[in-house]
Amino acid sequence: MTYSLFSLAREALRGHTGWKPAWRDAAPKPEYDVLIVGGGGHGLASAYYLAKEHGITNVAVLEKSYIGSGNAGRNTTIIRSNYLLPGNERFYEKSMQLWEGLEQDFNYNAMVSQRGVLNLYHSDAQRDQYARRGNSMRLHGVDAELLDEAGVRAMYPFFDYANARFPIRGGLLQRRGGTARHDAVAWGFARGADSRGVDIVQNCEVTGIDVVGGRAVGVQTTRGTIRAKKIGLVCAGSTSRVASLAGLRLPIESHVLQAFVSEGIKPLIDGVITYGAGHFYVSQSDKGGLVFGGDIDGYNSYAQRGSLPVVEDVMESGMALMPAVGRLRVLRQWGGVMDMSMDGSPIIDRTPIEGLYLNAGWCYGGFKATPASGWCFAHTIARDEPHYINSLMRLDRFATGALLDERGAGATPNLH
């Protein structure tokens, strides 16, 4: 069924009795051409682009819970392509371009809203750094504008500009950045993959990976053995656990990241704002709640909940930026498990095991990457080699030294 104004009108006239489920809840078959382990946004996007771009439709997505139950449903929904390093910027810009055509492409309302992403700077040195990043973006053909204080004041008059310690001097603006509806992204990719023949298998946890003679040939699951010619791991915070089933040890630590939603208020923030003197980012949902977050808690964790010191730190940063939020109540707070890589950048690559592919290391920037992650991973699996766009996101870069360390923090996963 294609969603359109016509289909909406038709269903409205017959009492919405004709809508079909957007995807089948499939039972696993004994064998597939490609298995995608992990039914989050990236896994579903991988299956979608395998079918759409490469004609590989004998594919199953295996999800241990329900699709989108992990970080796809736990993020702060920001999309942007404002990176410095060439290996990252071309990838995130590919993602931004896919976001721009995504809803027409998979015929689903993902509520992509290019409301602008503004990174604030607070010192001359930080302005220089942002100018450098903006120039790098423009050299990649990406939009970037460096605003002075007056430019930021015109957009957001209510910041604490004269803050004694961290006055706001200006910002780097990417107008094409914005937000998207996180759950709808997972559902749209699921529907698009399913309609092309992909099986979406939920409540199916992978408990073993069968490797014969250095080649992955199938998986053991809670719903039986499934054989496959190729297997892609897209497991976010559970990456180390699942990869260890094939004997792989990875440059990844799992850390918990918290996010928050305030009570709903009238329109206040019409874009995405990031504070430059602490770790704080905020936007306003269409329901009116402020959606915001900050740093990871900073220690290894698989618990989907955080601790109070980081809650305090996030609130303090928010108060320093815009004291008006002190009048708001926080409605909800939650945590997700991040696959923090050792240089802060992702991995989309083959592995030393034939037929086993890895998509991981998203740190806490995975949501914006969802379309390009799936697009590049599908290419890597289908062609057995990375695309140019993800050709620097290699697993062996930690051994060769060709790191993608955007922040220059070194092998410290809790500082990226």
Partner: protein
């Protein structure tokens, strides 16, 4: 999360600095590139019991080896790193 410092008693984790997995053995300077790659970048990242290094920077400043469950954050032991087995 509260960490039972063997010198200062139970304190909030915001008093501590987290380094990461304990027990990583620094290779000799002339060890192979593989050995250095393993030491610097590769991690077990266990789902469950994790031995890890915390420094009580806002307390006794001692380095501790903390045994903690990464699923629940429950702490089974916290020992001074100088006396802890590797």
């Amino acid at each position: 999360m509260r960490i039972p410092c063997p010198h200062c008693g139970e304190r909030g984790n915001e008093e501590f600095f987290y380094l990461g997995a304990a027990g990583l053995q620094r290779p000799a300077a002339d060890a192979s590139a593989d050995a250095w790659h393993d030491y610097v970048y590769q991690r077990d990242n266990p789902f469950g019991t994790h031995k890890e290094l915390w420094q009580h920077v806002n307390g006794c400043r001692r380095w501790l080896v903390v045994t903690r469950d990464t699923r629940t954050h429950a702490i089974a032991a916290a020992e001074d790193a100088a006396g802890a087995p590797a």
